[in-house]
């Protein structure tokens, strides 16, 4: 396509815009040279071309410059400090919560060993290892554990041990149930001697524990003795049961002593100061003590459940 008088304006405009190729520019130059009357028109179009005004500049370019914000480490450090502070506060709070006090923690601690000792006294049903009592030393529960040289132990004889231990563990709560359930106690041959031992133990401790609960336990023990004496003559394995009874009496003595301590300290808690100061904050101990009591009752209830199951199993006449 060549330039002519009909399309020259488009070529001129493209010439001003610099959109023409070198050949087209030469063609336009030649056309203008041939048509001088159109040269002024090209000149006027060229005057519409703006020249960049370099005097207009953006002052204070520094405002536009950017720098990568590398404060993440500072932020991390801040979060780290907050985390450490929170962890420290949490540890202090947990230590305050879990810290054993003289009054509220002992009942839980004391109940636990009793439970363990009761469990230790019960031989595993699956294992046929006989229980041997090698020693009658006080406070040695390990002696009650089965050994190779132990005397064969009849499964019937473990029932009175467990029954009696349970009765002494919770003398107040089980008082009525023990009296009502005389048959389960009476049929147990070994209970007689155990009751004797325990009664003696409790009597020895009476001066140290003027407690109603303990008195009731002693009364139970006496009643138990009366009930069990009627059936004591039918005991065929008296020799083995004597050894067991000695061990049980030791255990009972220990349990009753701890039980005495438990009740006595619960009474002491009522006289304590109920206020506890953490910094400037005053807290009421009774509220937390209530939580502890609930937890202890839950634990106690859980520990009683297997005991009750065992009692039911022991009431089975097949064991006799």
């Amino acid at each position: 396509m060549t330039i002519n008088r009909t399309n020259y304006e488009t070529y001129f405009l493209r010439y001003v815009d610099g959109d023409l190729s070198d050949a087209e520019q030469l063609m336009v130059d030649g056309f203008v040279a041939e048509n001088t009357n159109l040269a002024t028109e090209l000149e006027s179009l060229l005057q519409t071309k703006f020249i960049p005004d370099t005097t207009v500049v953006f002052a204070n370019k520094e405002k536009l410059y950017k720098k990568e914000n590398k404060e993440r480490t500072v932020l991390f450090f801040t979060w780290q400090k907050i985390a450490v502070a929170a962890a420290f506060i949490g540890l202090v709070f947990m230590a305050w919560i879990l810290m054993p006090t003289k009054d509220s923690v002992h009942p839980i601690v004391i109940n636990a060993p009793i439970k363990n000792k009761v469990a230790d006294l019960i031989p595993n049903k699956e294992s046929k290892h006989p229980i041997a009592i090698n020693s009658i030393e006080k406070n040695k529960v390990a002696d009650l554990m089965p050994t190779k040289n132990s005397i064969p132990f009849n499964s019937n004889k473990k029932q009175p041990i467990y029954n009696y231990t349970v009765q002494l563990k919770n003398p107040v709560n089980n008082k009525k149930s023990t009296q009502k359930n005389n048959t389960s106690i009476a049929v147990l041959d070994n209970a007689t001697i155990k009751a004797n031992d325990s009664r003696l133990t409790i009597k020895n401790n009476e001066n140290k524990s003027p407690n109603k609960a303990l008195n009731s336990a002693a009364t139970d023990a006496i009643a138990l003795q009366d009930q069990s004496e009627k059936t004591a003559t039918a005991n065929k394995t008296l020799a083995a049961s004597e050894q067991i009874n000695i061990a049980v009496s030791n255990n009972t003595n220990e349990s009753s002593t701890k039980m005495h301590r438990t009740v006595y300290k619960e009474l002491d808690t009522e006289t304590d100061n109920n206020s506890l100061y953490v910094g400037s904050i005053e807290l009421n101990k009774d509220k937390l003590r209530g939580l502890f009591r609930k937890a202890a009752s839950l634990l106690k209830r859980k520990s009683d459940e297997p005991t009750n199951n065992t009692l039911i199993a022991q009431n089975n006449p097949s064991f006799n």
Binding site: L45, T48, P52, T55, V56, V57, K61, Y65
Partner: protein, 161 residues
């Protein structure tokens, strides 16, 4: 785009963008705000901006922000002369240049931008179309009409004077 490349863009193109916006709207403070916004946007999207097309990106963002600004302020008043400001250095203008600036202000916003992008920055039709969201043929037609309008203004001024 890295931090270094961004700062290079500031050094290389801040004046160009400012000049383009300033000649379009004729208000320095608004022009500065638009330029700052354009660079701020480029900084925020620097990970997605290709360095080779950073100038185009800047002009595109600045142009659209300028259009938004014009629509918001409905500033259709033709500014016949630029206000003097200590932060803007003005060259000694001759008569033709003043007349040409007056002629530029007779154009509409699109024509003004087309002429300035073409003459100031030297973009071709396609690049101008990408910046202004126009087709290449539209750019060509609108630009030629603007040229003819400028020429007519200059010729008429010459005739009057």
């Amino acid at each position: 785009m890295t931090e270094f490349e961004y700062n290079q863009c500031v050094t290389l193109y801040a004046d160009n963008v400012f000049r383009f916006i300033m000649k379009n709207i004729g208000h320095e403070a608004d022009a500065r705000d638009i330029v700052q916004s354009a660079f701020e946007k480029m900084w925020l999207n620097k990970q997605h901006v290709i360095t080779e097309k950073s100038k185009s990106y800047l002009f595109t963002v600045a142009y659209h922000q300028m259009i938004d600004h014009i629509r918001k302020t409905k500033k259709t008043k033709i500014v016949s002369s630029f206000e003097q400001d200590e932060r803007v250095v003005y060259q000694t203008n001759n008569q033709l240049k003043e007349t040409l600036m007056q002629a530029l202000n007779q154009l509409n916003e699109t024509q003004k931008s087309l002429v300035l992008l073409k003459d100031y920055e030297g973009y071709n039709y396609q690049e101008i179309g990408e910046i202004m969201n126009l087709s290449e043929s539209q750019v060509k037609v609108y630009l030629h009409r603007a040229r003819l309008q400028l020429r007519n203004y200059l010729v008429s001024k010459e005739n009057i004077s």
